[in-house]
Amino acid sequence: MTGWSQALTTHPAAATETATFTGNRGLQLEEKLLFEQDSPGHCGVDLPEPPPHRSRLGGLERQRPIGLPGLSEPQVVRHFTRLSQKNYAIDSGFYPLGSCTMKHNPRLNEKLARLPGFADLHPLQPQSTTQGALELIDTLAHWLRTLTGMPAMALSPAAGAHGELCGMMAIRAALTARGDPRQRILVPESAHGTNPATAATCGYAIEPIPNNPRGRVDLGALKAKLAPDVAALMLTNPNTCGLFEDEILEIAEAVHAAGAFFYCDGANFNAIVGRVRPADLGIDALHLNLHKTFSTPHGGGGPGSGPVALAASLAPHAPLPWIVHGEGGRALIEHAAKGPEGGPATNSIGRLKGFHGQIGMFVRALAYMMSHGADGLRQVAEDAVLNANYLRVRLQGALSLSYPGTCMHEVLFDDRFLKDTGVTTLDFAKAMIDEGFHPMTMYFPLVVHGALLIEPTETESKAALDQFADTVNALAARTKTDAAGFHAAPRLTPRRRLDETAAARKPVLRWQPELSKQEAAE
C-alpha cells in the first residue's frame, strides 16, 4: 500500500492535486500480478472428491508444491477484466497498423466457432462422426481456390510464417524431386522478416534484391541475380510499401525462365481479393493470412491460420493430411502412400502441425466469406484501397510520402517531415496514443527511413478517417514547436513510455517470489 507522497513521486506526471492514494485514476485501475494475490489453498474451481482408487503413477508422484497462487473466481474475473481495460483494440478505436490488416471481427463468427459440432469435436474421432467438419474444410478450400485461381490448397499451416514454410518446403521438395537442388532464394529488402527467416529454415541462403525508386522490385537487378542456383523468388504483392508490383508478369516470366519458382507472400491479399487472382500473376505458391484478410481475430498475437495455395507443379508436395471424396463421404488421408512408418512420403513434405489445421479459424473465415459473398469480397478490396488512398491525399501535405502515386491497401510515409524537429517516428507514434489512436506500423519496411506504414482497412468509416487525418496533421504541425511534448508522450496511458532497453539488458521473464518481496518492500 503506497502513501500520498509516494503516489506523488511515482507519478510526477500527475499534478499534485490529482495524485491518488491508491494509484488508481478513476476508471484506470492498477492491478497486481496473480502471484501477488495468492491466498494459499484457495481455489476458483469446485471439483468433487476423487473416487477411491489405487494409484498407478509408477512412483512418480509429485513431492513438491508447484507454486501456483490460489484465487477465487471473483478475484480472477476482476483481475483479467482490469487487465483487458489496459488494452487498446479494434473494438475501441482506429488501429491502422500497416501490414496487419486490423479489420472488424464479426461476433457472428465467434458464435459459430463455438458450436459444439465444431468446438467440441476431437481430431481423432472416427471419421464417420466428423463429416461436417471435413465438409467445412473442403468448403473453405473451395472458396480459397476460387479466390486465388490456384488448383490446390494446403490448409494445415497455423499462421503466415508457417504457410511460408509450407510453400518453400514444397518448392524445395519439387526441386529435389527434379534432381536440381538449388541454394539461393531472392528476397526483396522490403520483405517481412518472416520471409528470409523461413527461407533459412529450409536451408537456403538469402540474396537480397533492391527496390527501384518507385518502391517496387528492381527488375534489372532481379534478372541479374537470377542465376541457375536460385531456387525461388519470395515476393510480397501488394508489397510492404503498399504498392502493387506492376511488373509482376515480367518478374514471373524471368523467374520461370531461370527454372526457379515464384513464391508470393499473400499477407496483403486484402487489397486485391475478388479483383485479382494470384494465379493470373504467374505465382507458384502463396500463403494467405486468414487472421488478416478473412478477419479471424488477432487475439493479442494469435492464433492465426495460413493456408497455402499451390500451383499444379507443387501440389504433389502438399503437406499431410489431405481430404479425398470416397464412397462413404469425405475421408481424411493422414499417411502418404510410401511413407516409412507414417513418416513423410517421398512426395509430400510430410506433416507440418499436430493435427488437421486451425479448424476454429476456418469456421470464422468461412462465415466471414459467406457473409460477404463474391460481391462483398470485391467491395472489401475496393474500400480498403479507397480508404488508404483517401488517407494518402489527406496526409501527404503534412507527412512525407515515400513513393508518389496511387497506393493499394496501405500507404507508406517516412520521417523526412520530422527532419530538424528533434522528434522521431517513435515519438510521433507515442503522441498519437495520447490522442486515442493506435499508431501505424513504425520502422517497417526497412527500405525507407523511420517508416510510418498506415493501413486503415475497409471497416473504417469516412468520419473515422477524417478525425484521424485531422489529428495527424495537427500533430505534424505541432512537431515544429513542441519536441519536448513528443518526447514525454504518452502521458495519458496506464503506463507512460516503457523502457525497452532496460528490459533487454537484464531480462526479467517471469515472476519470482524473491523479486516480488523486494518490490513490496520498496
Binding site: 481455489c43 457472428l108 479483383r275 462465415a367
Partner: protein, 446 residues
C-alpha cells in the same frame, strides 16, 4: 454490407478528393490481363440468419464429444473449462487487439503473457518459458532445432514413444535443415534403447509417453548431460503435471508441450497451444516471443516484449525461428483456467483424472479378452483387444460411444499394433459413461 461503413456517397466524395474518376483507376497498377471485371464464381453476400443456418447445419453433421460417452485423447484432452474463461477471452480488448508492439496500449496482454510464462515455467519445473508457439508438435520441432543451435551437433534421437505426429513434424522441419533425425521404433510398454554419441544434439522423450506410460527420465538426463546432449521432454497432457514430478525436476533441458488441455476446446485439432520452456542459460537461443518486466518513464513497473533480437523481424534470416503470430488467445485461456484452478485446484483436477482413468481401466479389464498394457499411467493408457481395434472403434461409434483411438490410425504399417487401443478418461467422464463404454465394448467383442 453490414460490415462496410462506407456509403455510396462516401465513396464518391473520397474518389473526388483523391482526384480519380473511378475505383478502377486505383487498380491501374494491376496488369490488364490480370484484372477481373466480373465477380468470382462464388455465392453472393448473405445475412447472419442465412450464414448461421448453413454453418449450423454443417456442425450438426458432426457428433460433438459432449453428446456421447467420450474416451479419446492421443494428445488432445477434453476437460471442463469454467464459463468465466470463455467470457473473459471474448472481451474485445483481448480478442481484437494485435501483438503488443505498442506496450503502452497493451499492458493487459503483456501482463497476462508474463503470468503465462511464469505459470508454464512453474508447471514444467523450468527456469524460463516463452509466450507460446503454434502447438505441441511444432514446439517439439523447434526444441530439436534449438538443441541443434545450442550443441552445434547434427543428430536428434526421438523416442519411439513420442507422439507419432510430433515425430513426423520433427522430420518435416528437419528434412532440409541438415539435421539428422533418428526415430526409434515404437514399442508400447518397452523402454527405448537409446544410445548417445558425440554427434547427438538431443534426445526427445514424451512424459507421460504416447502410450500413457510414466517413465522417470532422471537417469536419461544424466546420460545426456554426460554425452553433451540436451534432454527434450515433451508433455502432451499438461494436466498430468498436477500429479507427477515435473520434467525440470528430472533434469530436462527443454520442455516442449501442448497446452490445449487447460482453457481450450478440442477444436477438431486447432487452434491449440504450443508450450516451450528451457533453462535460463539458453534463453537467447529460444524461439518465439518473450514478455519481460521493465519500468515506465515514471519508474512504475510495466511490461514489454523483449529479447526480440532473437526474432525474425529484427534478425531476419539469422533468427532463432520464423514464428511471428503465435497462439496468444489460447495462452490467455490457459492462464485464466490455471489462475482459477491454482495449486489446490490443479492438484485435485489431476487426482480426479487419474482416479477416473484407474476406474475405467479396472472396468475395461472385466471385459473378456481385454487387457491393459501399461504398468503406470496418468489419465490415458493402452489396452489390448482380442481383435483389430479400428473396426471395433467404428462399431462403438454406432453404439454411440466414442471409445478411444486405434493405434493403427497412427501406425498403418504395423500389424503387431493392430489390436491396440489408446483410451483416455478425464473428469468429464461419469461412472455411467464408463459403464456404457464397457457394455458396448463387451457387445461388439462378442
Amino acid at each position: 454490407m453490414r460490415y462496410l461503413p462506407l456509403t455510396p456517397g462516401d465513396r464518391r466524395q473520397m474518389l473526388a478528393a483523391i482526384g480519380v474518376g473511378s475505383i478502377d483507376d486505383l487498380f491501374s497498377d494491376v496488369p490488364k490481363s490480370a484484372r477481373l471485371d466480373g465477380l468470382v464464381d462464388l455465392p453472393l453476400a448473405q445475412g447472419e440468419l442465412a450464414v448461421e443456418r448453413a454453418l449450423s447445419q454443417m456442425a450438426a453433421k458432426n457428433v460433438a464429444a459432449g453428446s456421447a460417452p467420450f474416451f479419446i485423447g492421443g494428445g488432445v484432452y477434453r476437460h471442463h473449462v469454467p464459463a468465466a474463461v470463455d467470457h473473459l477471452i471474448q472481451r474485445g480488448e483481448f480478442l481484437t487487439s494485435y501483438t503488443p508492439y505498442q506496450p503502452e496500449l497493451a499492458q493487459g496482454t503483456l501482463q497476462s503473457l508474463f503470468e503465462f510464462q511464469t505459470q508454464v515455467a512453474l508447471l514444467t519445473g523450468m527456469e524460463v518459458a516463452n509466450a507460446s508457439l503454434y502447438d505441441g508438435a511444432t514446439a517439439c520441432a523447434e526444441a530439436v532445432a534449438m538443441a541443434h543451435r545450442v550443441t552445434r551437433r547434427g543428430k536428434a534421437v526421438l523416442s519411439g514413444a513420442l507422439h507419432p505426429h510430433y515425430r513426423e513434424v520433427c522430420q518435416t522441419y528437419a528434412q532440409f535443415s541438415g539435421l539428422q533425425v533418428e526415430a526409434l521404433k515404437p514399442t508400447p510398454g518397452v523402454a527405448d534403447p537409446i544410445d548417445l554419441d558425440n554427434e547427438t544434439a538431443c534426445v526427445v522423450v514424451q512424459y507421460p509417453d504416447f502410450f500413457g506410460e510414466l517413465r522417470d527420465c532422471s537417469a536419461l538426463a544424466a546420460r545426456c548431460h554426460q554425452a553433451g546432449a540436451l534432454l527434450v521432454v515433451v508433455v502432451t497432457e499438461i494436466v498430468s503435471l498436477g500429479a507427477v514430478k515435473s520434467p525440470g525436476e528430472m533434469g530436462a533441458d527443454i520442455v516442449a508441450g501442448e497446452g490445449q488441455a487447460l482453457g481450450n476446446a478440442l477444436n477438431f485439432g486447432g487452434p491449440h497451444l504450443g508450450l516451450f520452456a528451457a533453462r535460463e542459460q539458453h534463453v537467447r537461443q529460444m524461439p518465439g516471443r518473450l514478455a519481460g518486466q521493465t519500468v515506465d518513464a515514471d519508474g512504475r513497473r510495466g511490461w514489454v516484449l523483449t529479447l526480440s533480437a532473437r526474432e525474425q523481424h529484427i534478425r531476419r534470416e539469422r533468427a532463432t525461428s520464423n514464428i511471428c503470430t503465435n497462439s496468444g488467445l489460447c495462452a490467455l485461456a490457459f492462464t485464466i483456467h490455471l489462475a482459477l484452478l491454482g495449486e489446490a485446484g490443479l492438484t485435485r483436477l489431476a487426482e480426479l483424472n487419474h482416479a477416473t482413468a484407474c476406474n475405467l481401466a479396472d472396468r475395461l479389464e472385466t471385459v473378456p479378452g481385454v487387457s491393459v498394457l501399461n504398468r503406470s499411467y496418468f489419465n490415458e493408457f493402452t489396452v489390448r483387444l482380442p481383435k483389430p481395434a479400428a473396426p471395433i472403434v467404428d462399431e462403438l461409434a454406432e453404439f454411440g460411444v466414442l471409445g478411444g483411438v486405434p493405434l493403427s490410425r497412427f501406425y498403418p504399417g504395423r500389424d503387431d499394433l493392430a489390436n491396440l487401443l489408446l483410451v483416455a478418461a478425464t473428469e468429464t467422464a461419469t461412472e455411467d459413461d464408463i459403464e456404457q463404454f464397457a457394455h458396448a465394448l463387451a457387445e461388439v467383442l462378442r
